[in-house]
């Protein structure tokens, strides 16, 4: 079956082609052929100049992540025919949120720098040279996070990274949990403190894209949530992220709904809240500003209180069980 591949190309060294453009290739595709195999076939039979990364071709090295029909995928484990039948097209582009360097190759240096930022190695609790006993459950806690192959799909799909290039981003955060969640790790608190800083784990907007597009089921958002709750349990609360969570919980407990204006003050403090005034005025213009003073309790606030009490009870019970 012949399928048209539309590939977004770019070569900064070529004066004629130094703006990104699309090039179409007709590829004879056989049953079972993967997108990566089709790209290799283009290289061999039509155009050796098409640049892309590849290595293991079995979904474990992480080289060949690209955008296929708008979404980040490992091209080596994606079959052409089913994808084409579903989408009716075959558009290949480089990963998003990274600079296109040539054709389907992107600049991964920022990606590795972010990984380096989370001190990505174990700092053992005790220095003696003997095996630490690790229970099956302990291993399970970090197993998912350590499946990461560093392909970059999650960072490519990350909405927070799109607006803030300094954001640590899901790949590094999943890596961070791999150590914070490790029973053998000695520096958990220090790690959590650093992750609570600006551009850190609290900047995630929880859009779930990272988890949705991860080809290895690492579920970065789940790891981020575990980092956040570990940080709060460890008493690392003096930052806008943790304060926001507390303000939210407090608001619901008090009035049964979100008192957004009050939350802004609690999250950012007085001085930084002043900086939010222009944003507030804009909201007001669009009729979206909540009334700060008149914020009535909901009718069945007692029910909400019960939920809180029940949650607190269950939480303590779980902690007790874990200690046993």
């Amino acid at each position: 079956m012949k399928i048209k591949f539309n590939i977004r190309r770019f070569n900064p060294d070529d004066s004629k082609l130094n703006e990104p453009y699309f090039q179409a290739y007709d590829v004879e595709v056989t049953e079972g052929m993967t997108v990566l195999e089709a790209l290799l076939k283009i290289n061999e039979e039509q155009d050796p100049t098409l640049a892309f990364r590849k290595s293991c071709r079995s979904a474990i090295c992480g080289s060949c992540a690209m955008k296929v029909n708008g979404f980040s995928k490992l091209t080596c484990s994606l079959q052409v025919i089913p994808e084409y039948k579903k989408k009716g097209r075959m558009v290949i582009e480089p990963l998003a949120n990274h600079k296109q360097v040539k054709d389907l190759v992107v600049d991964l240096n920022p990606f590795w720098k972010k990984i380096e930022k989370v001190t990505p190695y174990l700092t053992p609790m005790d220095k003696e040279h003997e095996e630490r006993s690790v229970s099956e459950e302990d291993e399970k806690t970090i197993d998912q996070s350590q499946r990461c192959i560093m392909c970059g799909c999650c960072n490519s799909e990350c909405n927070a990274l799109e607006i803030d290039s300094k954001f640590i981003a899901p790949a590094a955060l999943a890596k961070a949990w791999r150590f914070v969640g490790d029973v053998r790790e000695g520096d958990k608190k220090k790690r959590l403190e650093r992750l609570s800083e600006e551009h850190g784990m609290w900047d995630c907007v929880r859009c779930i894209h990272c988890t949705q597009y991860c080809p290895k089921d690492v579920a970065p958002l789940k790891q981020i949530e575990m980092l956040r709750s570990s940080a709060m349990k460890a008493g690392i609360l003096d930052n806008p992220g943790a304060k926001h969570v507390e303000a939210m919980a407090d608001s619901v407990r008090r009035v049964g709904r979100l008192d957004e204006a009050a939350m802004t003050f609690k999250t950012l403090g007085f001085l930084r809240s002043i900086g939010m005034i222009p944003f507030g005025l804009k909201m007001e213009l669009h009729g979206k500003m909540p009334l700060p003073i008149l914020f009535p309790k909901i009718e069945k606030i007692e029910e909400v209180k019960k939920i809180y009490e029940e949650a607190a009870k269950q939480g303590t019970e779980q902690e007790k069980k874990k200690e046993e």
């Binding site: 070569n11 900064p12 060294d13 070529d14 079972g32 993967t34 290799l40 290289n43 061999e44 155009d47 050796p48 100049t49 640049a51 892309f52 990364r53 590849k54 290595s55 293991c56 071709r57 079995s58 979904a59 474990i60 090295c61 992480g62 080289s63 484990s77 079959q79 360097v101 040539k102 054709d103 190759v105 991964l108 590795w112 990984i115 380096e116 990505p120 190695y121 174990l122 053992p124 040279h129 003997e130 095996e131 630490r132 006993s133 690790v134 229970s135 099956e136 302990d138 291993e139 970090i142 197993d143 350590q146 499946r147 192959i149 560093m150 150590f179 490790d182 053998r184």
Partner: protein
């Protein structure tokens, strides 16, 4: 990376040069595990015996002793570095049975052991602040008067050639699976370091010994771990028989890889195959075990062959997997050239002899990587830094310029495909003089044609076609070395099976093949195997 870490720990200024990113290296795909005698009821001597027997007595026994003796402490060291292993009910590192081993001594993390260990190595690289030249491909090892002076590498993002000046160089570039058409190896497993070393005046040892893994997916060559059989999987022929009962009545599917691959090939050639394959049946293990211990295998079988192993047997066949041969080194990675070291699959110490046991390759990279790093560090403390001979850089840039200037030559892909076909047809599991000679003639012809290949892509940045020309040139040298070794070894031992010489011949052939280059000619000599504890005996499973 293990070598770099050890050298950095010893206080050396170390850099890693790699044509792909460190976590992309093909160790990442090692699935099954890493061997070590950890339990009191096991012993390093037993591990040593299994390895020697597996090697069909071609392994050097002092090297194997080091491998097996040092394995337990190296595993503990990995654990300290942060490696995650699957655990038993007591929280200790779990171990599973593997082919050719008399004891369940393979440590693992599900079916992702290589991935776990490679990422730990990368973490330690960052911990020690080791500089990595990402996406730099080495085009030349610079050795003058038998002394290593560094390397010349091309920066793939710009196409610029650089000299990297050093007291010592350690080659750890892995295997050459891509010489063959059906291979479990990555697209980047092109044996670069072996060919570079050969051309720098170093010997390649035992190149005729190519391991064919018994369970790979047809067409793609993707690996189904030996752990699948370790966990209890069966191999069936078209009649539904567990045919391994015939070939290895005692251990059946868990005989060593050469034995199982030959059995499969025989079944297929005698008409008891299923579309050129045999069947790997895991159904009786049940969904729970498959999902927990072999989840990657399940995904690979579904994504690449459209078969769910929980419901159906998976068609598999033998495919080129591992190079027992490589750069001849001593037990500390040292080569004939002063200051040039090698470790891992690129090297041949030799611990695998004529056939490697599953779970021993990751172990070799760790034990001998560490040893080579340490030795290189000791060497550098006393060695002097010789001036870099700039004529090498001039020659290299001249060679690259010539490739760019050539017009209307043949396509490199065509030459590569013909090489793949020739090696598959003439230098596979079953060999004889006639086939091998045909293969040799074909490679010689391709080498001539290779001199006239030209580029379609004349760009400098990320020129994958140029990179592939380097790779194919290297693989042609490797192919020739494999064939020369195979033609001359007139016996059958381990993975090297000659139909015209079907018996092992210890009297004449208990020795290593050494291949070196004299001008353009490949010359051959032999070295005796070092036998210490275990005298050669017949090998039966």
């Amino acid at each position: 990376m293990r070598a770099a870490i050890e050298a950095a720990r010893a206080g050396l200024n170390v850099a890693v040069v790699t044509k792909i990113y460190p976590v992309r290296s093909h160790s990442v795909a090692a699935q099954g595990g890493i061997n070590a005698a950890l339990k009191e009821t096991d012993s390093w001597e037993a591990h040593m015996f299994d390895t020697i027997k597996g090697s069909d007595y071609l392994g050097d026994q002092d090297a194997i002793e080091a491998l097996c003796k040092e394995a337990p402490s190296d595993i503990m060291e990995l654990e300290r570095m942060g490696a995650i292993f699957s655990r038993d009910a007591h929280g200790h590192i779990a171990q599973r049975p593997f082919g050719g081993a008399g004891y369940p001594r393979t440590c693992y993390l599900a079916d992702r052991t290589g991935h776990s260990l490679l990422h730990v190595m990368f973490e330690q690289l960052m911990k020690h602040g080791i500089y990595v030249y990402d996406e730099w491909h080495v085009v030349k090892l610079v050795a003058e008067d038998n002394i290593s002076k560094g390397v010349i590498a091309i920066e793939l993002s710009t196409g610029k050639l650089h000299r990297l000046h050093s007291k010592a160089t350690i080659i750890a570039t892995g295997g050459y699976g891509r010489v063959y058409k059906t291979t479990t190896n990555a697209l980047s497993s092109t044996g670069d370091g072996m060919a570079l070393a050969l051309n720098a005046g170093v010997d390649l040892m035992d190149m005729e010994f190519v391991q064919f893994h018994p369970t790979v997916l047809p067409r793609t060559g993707i690996l189904m771990t030996e752990g699948a059989r370790g966990e209890g999987g069966f191999l069936l022929n078209s009649k539904g028989e567990r045919f391994m009962e015939k070939y290895a009545p005692k251990v059946k599917e868990l005989a060593s890889r050469d034995v199982v691959s030959r059995a499969e090939q025989t079944e297929i050639e005698e008409g008891r195959g299923v579309n050129g394959c045999v069947l790997l049946d895991l159904r009786h293990l049940g969904a729970k075990k498959i999902n927990e211990r072999l989840s990657q295998i399940k995904d690979l079988a579904i994504n690449f062959s459209g078969v769910n192993p929980i419901e159906e047997p998976v068609p598999v066949k033998p495919g080129a997997h591992y190079s027992m041969g490589g750069i001849a080194t001593d037990n500390d990675g040292g080569t004939k050239v002063t200051g040039l070291f090698a470790a891992g699959e690129a090297a041949c110490v030799s611990v695998h002899g004529a056939n490697r046991l599953g779970g021993n390759s990751l172990l070799e990279t760790i034990v001998f990587g560490r040893r080579a790093g340490l030795k290189a560090a000791q060497f550098c403390k006393d060695a002097k830094l010789y001036p870099f001979p700039d004529r090498f850089l001039k020659d290299a840039s001249q060679e690259v310029a010539v490739i760019y200037e050539r017009e209307n030559g043949e396509s490199i892909f065509k030459i590569r495909n013909e090489m793949n076909d020739a090696m598959e047809a003439h230098c596979g599991i079953f060999r004889d003089r006639d086939r091998l000679t045909k293969g040799y003639d074909k490679i010689k012809e391709l080498k001539e044609r290779f001199k006239k290949v030209s580029l379609t892509d004349k760009n400098d940045n990320y020129n994958n076609e140029l990179l592939h020309i380097f790779e194919v040139g290297q693989m042609l040298d490797i192919s020739e070395a494999i064939l020369v070794g195979a033609i001359n070894r007139q016996e059958s031992r381990g993975s090297h099976y000659r139909r015209d010489f079907p018996k092992r011949d210890d009297e004449n052939w208990l020795k290593h093949t050494l291949i070196y280059k004299d001008g353009e000619e490949f010359k051959i000599r032999y070295r005796d195997v070092r036998v210490t504890k275990f005298k050669p005996e017949e090998r039966k499973y």
